[in-house]
Amino acid sequence: MLRHVTDVPVITFASAAMTLFLMFGLIDPAQAVPSYARQTGQECIACHVSFPELTPYGRYFKLTGYTIGKTSFSSEGMNYLPLAMMAQASVTNTRNNNTTDPNTGDTVSVNQRNNGIVFCCASIFLASKVNDYIGGFVQWTYNHLATTADGTLGGHSGIDNTDLRVAGKYSGAGAAEPDWVYGATVHNNPTVQDVWNSTPAFGFPYTTSPLASTPAAATLIDGGLAQQVAGLGAYVFWKKTLYGEVSFYKTADGAFSILRQGQDIHTDGGVAALKGYNPYWRFAYSQDWGANSIMVGTYGMVVDRYPSNLDTSTPTDRFRDIAIDAQYQYITDPHTFTAQLTYIDEKQSYDASFPVTLATGAGIGAGPAPANPTDKLHTFKAKATYYHDRKYGGTLAYFSTTGSADSGLYGTDPNGNAMKPDSSGYIIELDYLPIQNIRVMFQYIAYNKFNGASTNFDGNGRNARDNNTAFLNVWVAF
């Protein structure tokens, strides 16, 4: 949202950064123990390269239903508190924070808190094993910088990522390790249940500025249904080599409404509404050798979505996402190197929205108003990370989204040509973890293209690089 530049805080980027360092230097590390660490008695690095990226053992922990270790309560009393908290405080600098309001001609700020310290966001987790076969986590997040109805920033809380599992293991006579790990999951974000960090929900970047402008177009599987749907799935992992999963996603209503608690379900466009149960698949080949671990896989989904979440009497648009992904990890003491990539191909069939748009000039309710009956959208992401002693890390990432030109979805350029959804750029991130529960990170996102163009992408003189974002963040989990 745009506000006048006079509203911008006057704290400088450098002074804000120094304050953050000093403030978090006072935290007592002895109290910083997330609930799964308390459950297993192990340190974070057993399961995480650095949170949230999982090690092979962390993947096994998740696939076996988060059940390794103790229950929080037993006949002996409370073993540990099954709660954890997470919070972030950051400073964001947008390269060119001034832009021109197309309606008034006034100079306004893009990022309302440029160079100022913001606390966003904070989460509480209920995370624990229930018994030897059932476990999971529920995340509840308070966002201090949510956009309110009048366009200003305000507080908002709601459910965040959630994954509940029932899991088991089967070993044949004389087996040296489990032949089968199998389970069922209920969750609320496609790929949040996945154990490799090449898929969207837990893919890089693991956190970004809560204030910066971000590209408008993304595939549906890449966060478009997060905390809006109920996912019901079953999976098997055979000899720690072949993974297969089938899940189905439906609108998180009725008995599943807790999975989208806090979402604006009464506003048109507030959430996604899906028709029936929409299939998702995931197959992966995984192999560990020496200190190396590799995975190649595919995942995807077919979703029939109502253009307006308030009107489920209409036909639906279909989104078909097919993705490939890969991950490599080399984990030793003190050197750790990891890399992930994914490519998502989305076909958007506007079977409901296009005919209505053609006839009326507008979509159904707040739904899309495409100029084409079908569109394509492709996303590619790749990143490589090095950590020394699990303390000092650096990541280099590339991202690219390309797709069909569609004036209805993306507008027209100054020459009247339909624009594309294209955005691309690089991310450089430096991380320092003084203890495993605290990450001090500096992230820089540099755009080559933003919402369809390198220059003048908004028709108002703004260039892609103007949205380059420096983000200094302190991320604490305890």
């Binding site: 192990q42 030897d132 088991g168 070993s171 390790e177 008995a255 560990d288 020496g290 200190a291 030793t332």
Partner: protein, 206 residues
């Protein structure tokens, strides 16, 4: 209606899993211990105790008494190097003595890992040190306790086939008193890092 299906599904899934029976007999205890080894220990220490990552020690064919003593040391937090603290305290803390004995017996009975040679010259240097020690510096031969070809003896651990990186790391921990092993500390306190690398390469080769 949907709520009923969800509840039914959870009941069916939970019911399909047979609870662990009471562990009374020695056979039951051994079975429970082996299930623990197969389903949990193998995640890091590999199938049958032969890990592929040099960050995690090979357990196959290790001396039973030594394994029991080490797991117990993790459980009691007496062994306190960083890896022990980060990975093993929590795991061992959930084990009782009977299960520890069963796990130790399981790994002691497994076939040993084959030897692996990366640098023959380094291995030759390590063999010299392992077999003869360094009398001029008062360092006795390693094989006096760890046996011919590093296969271990009744009271001392097997080193043959162990990851060289792990052996060198432990030597360093013991020398710097991070890992409490008074006898070993006295013996290796004057070993240089290259000598540790050499002897580690040798035992890995056996």
């Amino acid at each position: 209606m949907t709520r009923k299906y969800v509840v039914l599904a959870v009941i069916l899934l939970a019911g399909a899993i047979t609870p662990v029976s009471a562990q009374n007999t020695a056979a039951d205890i051994q079975k429970a211990a082996e299930e623990k080894a197969v389903n949990l220990c193998s995640t890091c220490h590999g199938p049958r105790g032969i890990s592929t990552s040099p960050e995690f020690p090979i357990l196959a064919a290790q001396r039973k008494g030594y394994l029991e003593a080490q797991i117990d040391a993790f459980r009691k937090k007496a062994r306190a190097e960083k890896d022990a603290h980060d990975f093993m305290w929590g795991i061992a803390g959930n084990l009782d003595e009977a299960i520890i004995g069963g796990i130790a017996a399981y790994y002691a009975a497994q076939p040993p890992a084959p030897g692996r040679t990366d640098d023959p010259k380094l291995v030759a240097k390590g063999k010299e040190l392992f077999d003869k020690g360094l009398p001029e510096r008062g360092i006795p031969a390693c094989k006096a306790c760890h046996g011919d070809d590093a296969k271990g003896t009744a009271d001392f651990p097997r080193l043959a086939g162990q990851h060289a990186k792990y052996v060198a790391k432990q030597l360093n921990y013991i020398q710097s008193l991070v890992r409490a092993a008074p006898v070993m500390h006295g013996i290796i306190k004057d070993l240089t890092p290259p000598e540790m690398q050499a002897v580690a390469a040798y035992v890995q080769s056996k």
